[in-house]
């Protein structure tokens, strides 16, 4: 009987010691985790403040009248008498409407052209395995590494030879050269991550290569396509150097250059209108990013791990 009691006692002591050790370990882990969390939050807070300060300043300035801006009294971060006059001015200003429309047309066409070329190129490079396809896909990426600022002078000659100087069509032609390499690279990575058995199953089911692309690859690779689309959109919407070099009349101008050339007259900076124009110009990217961010991250991750 006593032997039984002894044997019961031993594991009880052992188990309480073990559970105490486990509790200490848990507490220490808990503390470490808490410190890591606080550290992360602090770093993120600095990051968020840094990145949100400029847009906040832009918003505040856009809501001020010219008189309030030039008065230079009170905090520049706060608005005393908020007004929408800058926004109303821009919305009813014909030049601004033209810039906006031109930017939208160029961007939509650039995205469409870039995506068609990129998807077809990526599918053939990733899946059709023709002679030299590996070298070619590396070459596609290398072209992305050439900075656009190096190209705009030689391209000026080509655009001039095509009689497209001061035409939005020059940008529709040129922007895909900036977007296609990277979009193709993203799509190659994404297409490569799709199991090869899917193509083979489709081939046996009776599909041709174009049907495999349209019925299998494009739906399956939609996150990658959205990521590439957002990239092409960003390239076309935010490009500054090329329109500055190739466009010079208001009827062909786009937002990025138009805002500066139209709202800065000599040494007069119309800060309220410039800031309001910047906010209005930022709206499409913000809306698109907000709706498609999840897909964008998924697409970039898949491309990165596979590529």
């Amino acid at each position: 009987m006593s032997a039984q009691l002894d044997t019961r006692a031993v594991p009880a002591v052992g188990s309480s010691a073990a559970s105490a050790r486990a509790a200490v370990h848990r507490t220490s882990l808990h503390r470490q985790r808490q410190w890591a969390l606080w550290g992360s939050y602090a770093a993120l807070a600095v990051f968020v403040v840094m990145f949100l300060m400029p847009p906040f300043y832009t918003l505040m300035t856009s809501l001020k009248s010219s008189a309030e801006i030039s008065a230079q009294t009170g905090s520049p971060w706060l608005v005393k008498h908020p007004t929408l006059e800058n926004f109303w001015y821009l919305i009813t200003y014909p030049n601004f409407q033209t810039y906006y429309l031109n930017s939208v047309i160029i961007t939509v066409l650039t995205v469409a052209v870039s995506m068609v070329i990129s998807i077809l190129a990526a599918f053939s490079l990733a899946r059709m395995g023709f002679w030299g396809s590996n070298v070619l896909s590396t070459g596609v990426f290398l072209t992305y590494l050439i900075p656009p600022s190096l190209l705009f002078i030689p391209l000026f000659q080509i655009v001039g030879w095509m009689h497209l100087i001061n035409s939005v069509w020059a940008l529709v032609l040129l922007y895909p050269t900036l977007a296609v390499p990277f979009c193709t690279w993203i799509m190659i990575g994404y297409f490569s991550s799709i199991p090869r058995e899917l193509d083979e199953a489709a081939l046996i089911d009776g599909a041709g290569y174009l049907q495999i692309l349209t019925k299998i690859f494009i739906p399956v690779a939609m996150p990658g396509i959205i990521a590439a689309t957002i990239f092409a959109f960003t390239v076309a919407w935010g490009q500054f150097l090329y329109p500055l070099a190739y466009l010079y009349t208001s009827n062909q101008m786009v937002l990025t250059v138009g805002i500066i050339s139209d709202l800065i007259r000599g040494d007069v900076f119309q800060w309220g209108k410039i800031m309001a124009a910047c906010l209005l110009a930022s709206l499409p990217p913000i809306v698109i990013y907000a709706f498609l961010m999840d897909y964008y991250v998924a697409g970039l991750t898949a491309g990165a791990t596979k590529g």
Partner: protein
């Protein structure tokens, strides 16, 4: 439905590596043939060449009497089930099964009839609206089979379809595949590395090794009359025991096998004439674990007593596997579960010499 013939087919990759070295194989209409062998033996490559997914370096493949070397996969009238299911992830089960029929412009009514019929055979009717990600492994494999069945092709090709399933589900799906074949009777070529799958499913098994065919035969033929040491070792679980031996003269004018220079086992009279020409040559003695069992006082002709020291005992419930060493070679015996044995014990066993195998030490061929 159709017969499939491979005539001296060769597959050579860049760099001169030959995966398939000129194999000949005729598969009859409605036959279920399993290609089995270790990794890298060329079985999947052979299947993919039949499917048209790999180009053929040499030889001819005929389906239904027509040479299909240059015919693309979609025009070969075949259906294939892949190891990882290869279901289209963005389509429902119905659309996955209907995809091939839609591409071939079948009328909608006919598509629905065929999909419903396949779903009934495979018991997946309630799953038709689901996406593949909402299915278990077994259900996905059923859908993959359904996709093959609806096409009503000349030939079914299975590329290790059960390898991704757990052991229990694999056994269940094995039965399902056999049942489906009994129902639709389509000529089937099935690739696996699992010899149990091969034995249970096949009308005929093709054992492949290093790019060539070792032996073709029914499961029973391969099991009882293997042509080579490779086949003898590959088919059967646990594997056959192999030991070096020599054929020697025995008392009374007979012959005996001197196994590992340690034990002398008389050869039954019926086999003596066949083995006598190999007298003195280095040979290999083979015996399956089930032909090495607990000693019986009342033996039969050809049953010889062997005493061995037990190394490891593995009780399996309905039988017990006992492992020994003889001259450095491992030996496995299958004894009745009630046989008392423990490590280090000297256990008397019966070697059923009526089921012994003798292989040429140089060529590996069974004599």
């Amino acid at each position: 439905m159709a017969e499939v013939s491979c005539r001296r087919i060769v597959k050579e990759y860049d760099g001169g590596v030959q995966a398939v070295k000129g194999i000949d194989l005729d598969i009859a209409d409605e036959e279920f043939v399993v290609l089995v062998g270790p990794s890298g033996c060329g079985k999947s490559t052979t299947l993919r060449m039949i499917a048209g997914l790999e180009e053929i370096t040499g030889g001819e493949i005929l389906i239904g009497g027509d040479v299909v070397n240059d015919v693309p996969p979609r025009d070969r009238d075949i259906a294939m089930v892949f190891q990882n299911y290869a279901l289209y992830p963005h389509m429902s089960v119905f659309d996955n099964m209907a995809f091939g029929l839609k591409l071939r412009k079948f009328p909608k009514d006919e598509i629905k009839r065929r999909v419903d019929e396949a779903a009934r055979i495979l018991d997946i009717a309630p799953l038709l609206d689901r996406k593949p990600r909402a299915l278990s492994g077994g259900q996905r494999q059923r859908v993959a089979m359904g996709r093959a069945i609806v096409r009503n092709p000349k030939v079914f090709l299975f590329d290790e379809p059960l390898s991704n399933l757990d052991a229990k589900l694999r056994v269940q799906m094995r039965t399902e595949i056999k049942k489906v074949h009994q129902t639709v009777k389509t000529t089937t070529v099935y690739v696996t590395h699992d010899q149990v799958e091969a034995m249970t499913l096949a009308d005929r098994v093709v054992v492949m090794n290093a790019g060539h065919i070792e032996q073709v035969g029914t499961p029973q033929e391969l099991y009882h009359n293997p042509a080579t040491r490779f086949v003898a070792g590959f088919i059967g679980s646990p594997a056959m025991n192999f030991m070096p031996c020599r054929i020697v003269e025995a008392a009374g004018g007979g012959i005996a096998v001197h196994v590992n220079d340690q034990i002398l086992l008389p050869v039954p009279e019926a086999r003596a004439a066949r083995y006598r020409p190999y007298m003195g040559k280095p040979m290999v003695f083979g015996m399956r674990p089930e032909h090495l069992f607990e000693y019986h006082e009342q033996g039969k002709p050809g049953w010889e007593r062997v005493d061995l020291k037990v190394d490891v005992v593995e009780p399996m419930g309905m039988e017990t596997m006992v492992h020994f060493f003889l001259g450095g070679d491992p030996i496995c015996a299958r004894v009745a579960p009630e046989t008392e044995c423990h490590p280090e014990q000297i256990l008397p066993l019966t070697a059923d010499m009526n089921n012994m195998h003798l292989m040429d030490g140089d060529t590996g061929k069974v004599v």
